[in-house]
Subunit: 202 residues, 4 copies
DNA sequence: AATGAATGAGCATTCATTCAT
DNA sequence: TATGAATGAATGCTCATTCAT
């Protein structure tokens, strides 16, 4: 009992320390020494829980992403309109982005020297990250909607992430409600129109 | 004169070599030795033209981005409708993304250990990259459009980049015409509607 | 009683595991973890029976060498001619060499970082290994034989070991009877001749 | 000119430092830092001249062994009797052994973790080391001598090395003339006898 | 301006040993 | 006695940068 708990505790401590250090420095510049010190364990202990720096990094991504995916999936299952979808997405994914921008950006970056196994794990994460959005859109968009859910999801997610990223870049406060409103204003008409409709404003 | 030309030639040779090596390996894994060899100069010569590896990297980004910004600015100046804007953007920025994905991703990634000066130069690039889009939208959107051009631009650019990135990730062919069409279908209604209009599909 | 037996059993298990691992990897590359696992005990238990990796290694050598020395001593005591000596030696020591080449080579190799105490123990082993040969030759050679038994023994042992080693190196099968015959052919005349005899072939 | 010389000088300096350090500590315990310091160069410089610690080690063996092989080959070519052969061998190989005992022992030891390439290079050295002896014996022994030169050479070399090693082990002075005499006394009769001869002293 | 040999700080990983249980 | 989780010192190798020529 105690052993299992203490083992899980230590693993969690290490992941938390790793998150801070990776976030602050990026993968390459992060130092295992610093992670160990921050986690309050000896350097060698890191290797009892993770095979390598790469494994630690990807395990961290997995831990955080799967947790987020589960949350988002649950929230989106309760949604029954495209509008609700956009609002929920903006809130949940936007929050993730604000808190873990580096994490999402790490995913879309090919890390140096990563072995095939790790590239595969990252690839799975990237795909998994889109799953809830794709699923929700598949359910909510009209069956004859002319854009594939994969692409529609990419556009919504891209618009959301990039907007939040831009606000951060420009030092402006990120108010997710405002972002949600803008997202609705720009995307909802296109997502809501019937396939045959003339969408051009002319 | 001759000296200036030869100097410029060598600088260009180095930038071209650097582009290939950085693209193939990313910043950290790229080696100055390889760049020098590919450029046909001695290792020490690199330091006659650039202060450091970081300087070479950022100079390369600047060189390529400003060139692209000039092109896009010119193309967008000829555009006189939101629809034309979306089509032109998809073509020009989409092309850049397909060819220089690593370049754009480098911009949005916090490079490890980069000094403040370099972070600033990269920040300028990121802002400059959005300029033409913002400018065009400022001109083309109705004056009372409720979304700030900065955010609108972010959404269009994000939707475009993320869609192309997703296609690449899934190993699907990137046909920019199709991407442009999907972009139009989803974004144009929202970008074209009058401010007071009821956009919700209900 | 029971305790003693069980203790002896465990000690023997560890030595057997250690033999396999040391033989396969050599001293430095052998890992205590692997030895413990193969012996079916916990890593810490090794240190209840042996002070250190070095102690385990040298204890193993001692265990095996003294056992071999006892065997050879007994066999050589029954021998009553130089020819019988050569034959018996080729058979017994040759066998040891074929089966435990690494063991003999370990003895003649200065192990890295071994402390003085351990070097001494190894030195004793090396000397002990020659004892039976020296004793037998002292008994069998004519009292006025001009070569000291120590040197004569060294020559016989060296010729034997090196020949077997060479055969192994060249991937040739080691037939100890053949080796014994060659050894006899080359060494016996010299070992058998009376001191004053003219041994040169001229 | 100067560059080539200075390059050769530095390579030689490194080899000399490596010899001292490897001799004193063995391969595994030897530290590249110490070699660099002793050679008076920076650690990185070692890697300009040798690919790795293993490469440095094997290159050193090669350098020393080939030099010795050339010397021995030349000396043995002038020899025209088995007796002369034994004397010359004792002098030249004995000298090598006294000075570079660790070197010869390194050869007959399977170094830990050595890659196939390096094992091959060491194997070639071991074979090359026997070449001059085999060649000389092939020339000097009667054509119908019943022992293959390879085995005869192994016996002579083994007897010689082991004798010298034993003297060193026992702390006795190594007088090569005495060793040569003992070697002659014991080996010459066997090496000189005609094939049909009865060699047993009985 | 150009070279390229030399530098040396920096770092992930291993593994014998310990000690609380 | 026995365990095995935790330790942390130890080390080969890389590569951006310098500088004598």
């Amino acid at each position: 009992m105690k052993n299992v708990d203490s083992t899980q505790d230590k693993r969690r401590d290490i992941l938390e320390a790793a998150e801070k250090v990776f976030r602050a420095n990026g993968f390459t510049a992060a130092k295992m020494d610093e992670i160990a010190e921050l986690a309050g364990v000896a350097k060698g202990t890191l290797y009892l829980y993770f095979d390598s720096k790469q494994d630690l990094f990807v395990s961290l991504l997995e831990d955080r992403i799967w947790e987020y995916v589960a949350t988002l999936t649950k929230k989106l299952e309760e949604v029954c309109s495209v509008q609700g979808f956009v609002q929920t997405l903006a809130k949940v994914r936007g929050q993730l982005f604000v808190k873990n921008r580096w994490l999402l950006e790490s995913l879309s970056h090919s890390l140096p020297d990563f072995s095939k196994e790790f590239r595969m794990r990252i690839w799975n994460l990237r795909k998994g990250l889109e799953e809830p959005t794709i699923e929700a859109l598949t359910r909510l968009l009209p069956p004859d909607y002319p854009i594939a859910p994969l692409q529609a999801a990419a556009m919504v997610n891209g618009a959301l992430d990039y907007t939040v990223g831009t606000l951060i870049l420009h030092g402006q406060p990120v108010v997710l409600e405002d972002v949600a409103r803008a997202l609705e204003y720009i995307l909802l008409p296109g997502l809501s129109q019937a396939p045959g409709e003339d969408y051009s404003g002319q």
